[in-house]
Amino acid sequence: MLAILITAFFPLLKTFWDSLFSFGLRPGIVKRFVGLDNYARLLNDTRFMTSLINTLIFTAISVSLEFVLGLATALILNADFALRGVVRAAILIPWAIPTSVSSQMWKWMYNDQYGIISQILYNLGWLAPGTPILSNKWSSMFAILAVDVWKTAPFMALLLLAGLQTIPSELYEASRIDGASKWKQFTKITLPILSPTIAVALIFRTLDALRVFDIFYIMNKSVETLAVYNRHILMDRAFTGAWFGYGSAISVVIFLIISIFAIIYIRSLNLRFE
């Protein structure tokens, strides 16, 4: 228990402490106390603001798409069909593949010369042949969103499926006798009962999406998220100049943003222990 506290909180306190100084990682750069200057600088950093906006756009779109697709998947998996167990295992595949591996797999499908997705889009006439999907800011944002949705919708589906399976089937039978349509059953029975599960799944995915790093780092350097920008400052810039303190300030801001969502999440879980 103590170990968790030390390993997790000590680096965090150190990050906060470091954010009050101006220094770099290369020896010879003088360490200077600058107070909250680093935080003030953030407000005028357009690259920081852009990465913040990118992260928020990514989070909003990916979480909504994953929810819709995850719910659709969960509803299908909850129906009765042959080989349901095998299908349920199969949809876990994207979740199990390391993000860096799936990023490369999709990068190959997006390849502007030989990738299958590019070929299909060219054949459909939706894209001029040879156009690189991953070099334009908006097309690469959507390309990356597709990878993230593919990877995490199964996880969302499993959470929702667990919720679906707690709904007693008598409820549906009774409403069918009363003449309720499928859509009516869905909006009047399924959604209300499922809503606590939905809330947990949504906030949980939001926390994950806000931290996104791997996919953006690997697939493309023209769209940056907070984590990618933060790592760039901490690990690339800090070796050439006095950027480490500034990078630590960004780390603290990211921590605060995610903490707000985390607090909402823990509240909504309504923890109970006897």
Binding site: P11, P98, T99, Q119, R211, Y217, S251, A262
Partner: protein, 281 residues
């Protein structure tokens, strides 16, 4: 329309959806497999390739002969394996303590554990890098295993606590009467009884450590020290412009197949663990 035709149409629609869903989730993996066995002459042609005309395993050989990929796999096995074992040991003690001991502020402690599991990793990246550098642990196995244990322990503690909680306390009381010490009780009774929980937790930890990218990228900076996800992300060709996609896909398939096998074998346990723990992916 009579009842029977209506049922039949519903079934057809359902199976159509199942097939569409399967294609969506499985196709990229299938395409990676196909690409990995397609010879370069076919691979780099401007046509849609769904089946290789003359399949070859050359890429699978090249991935091991042209780069230190076996070393990368070994690194990942060591790091993920050690992380899993140590996290299970520490997590079992912590989880047992939380599940059994009556102490004040249990909700606060569990909330704190949950909060730690939601840390944005990048927020402690810089500080951890400095600490590990001062301890001369950059490019060493412990330098990656220690942060991984810290990352995974909250989840391990959380899930194991859920399993331990469900074991009736009367079993332990009778063990105590028979003269079992607290440690012996944990070792001889609780651990065997919660074996399914340990397997589930171990699998989730292993997959998480095997897949982790940001810390591995930062703390392991030599190609022969890379873990598998970093090696694959850093894949390069002889020149900047020719990435050997066939080899890359072969590498992707090699590291994915064991995970897919684990998932298929233990899918019920994994699903139970994910939904019961439901706090971290």
């Amino acid at each position: 329309m009579n009842y029977k035709t209506k049922k039949r149409i519903e079934k057809i629609i359902l199976y159509t959806f199942v097939i569409i869903m399967l294609i969506f989730y499985v196709f990229p993996f299938y395409y990676a497999i196909i690409s990995s066995v397609t010879p370069n002459s076919e691979l780099f042609s401007k046509s849609i390739k769904l089946f290789p005309k003359s399949p070859t395993f050359k890429n699978y050989i090249l991935v091991f002969t042209e780069r230190p990929f076996h070393q990368n796999i070994l690194n990942s096995v060591i790091v993920a394996g050690a992380t899993t074992i140590l996290s299970l040991i520490f997590g079992a003690f912590a989880g047992y303590a939380v599940a059994r001991l009556r102490m004040p502020g249990k909700v606060a402690i569990m909330s704190l554990i949950l909060a730690v599991s939601m840390f944005p990793q990048v927020s402690i990246l810089g500080a951890l890098f400095q600490i590990l550098r001062n301890m001369k642990l950059i490019n060493t196995y412990p330098g990656l295993i220690l942060p991984y244990i810290a990352l995974n322990l909250p989840l391990t503690t959380w899930i194991l606590h859920n399993f331990f909680k469900d074991i009736p306390i009367s079993i332990e009381e009778s063990a105590a009467i028979d003269g079992c010490s607290k440690f012996m009780t944990l070792w001889k009774i609780i651990i065997p009884l919660s074996a399914p929980g340990l397997v589930t937790t171990g699998l989730l930890t292993f997959i998480a450590a095997w897949n982790e990218f940001m810390f591995a990228l930062t703390f392991m900076q030599l190609p022969e020290k890379y873990t598998v996800p970093v090696a694959i992300a850093m894949f390069s060709g002889k020149t900047f412009y020719e990435l050997p996609w066939g080899q890359l896909m072969a590498a992707a398939v090699i590291v994915t197949v064991p995970l897919v096998a684990l998932v298929l074998i233990f899918q019920n346990k994994i699903v139970a663990g994910l939904t019961a723990g439901a706090v971290k992916g």
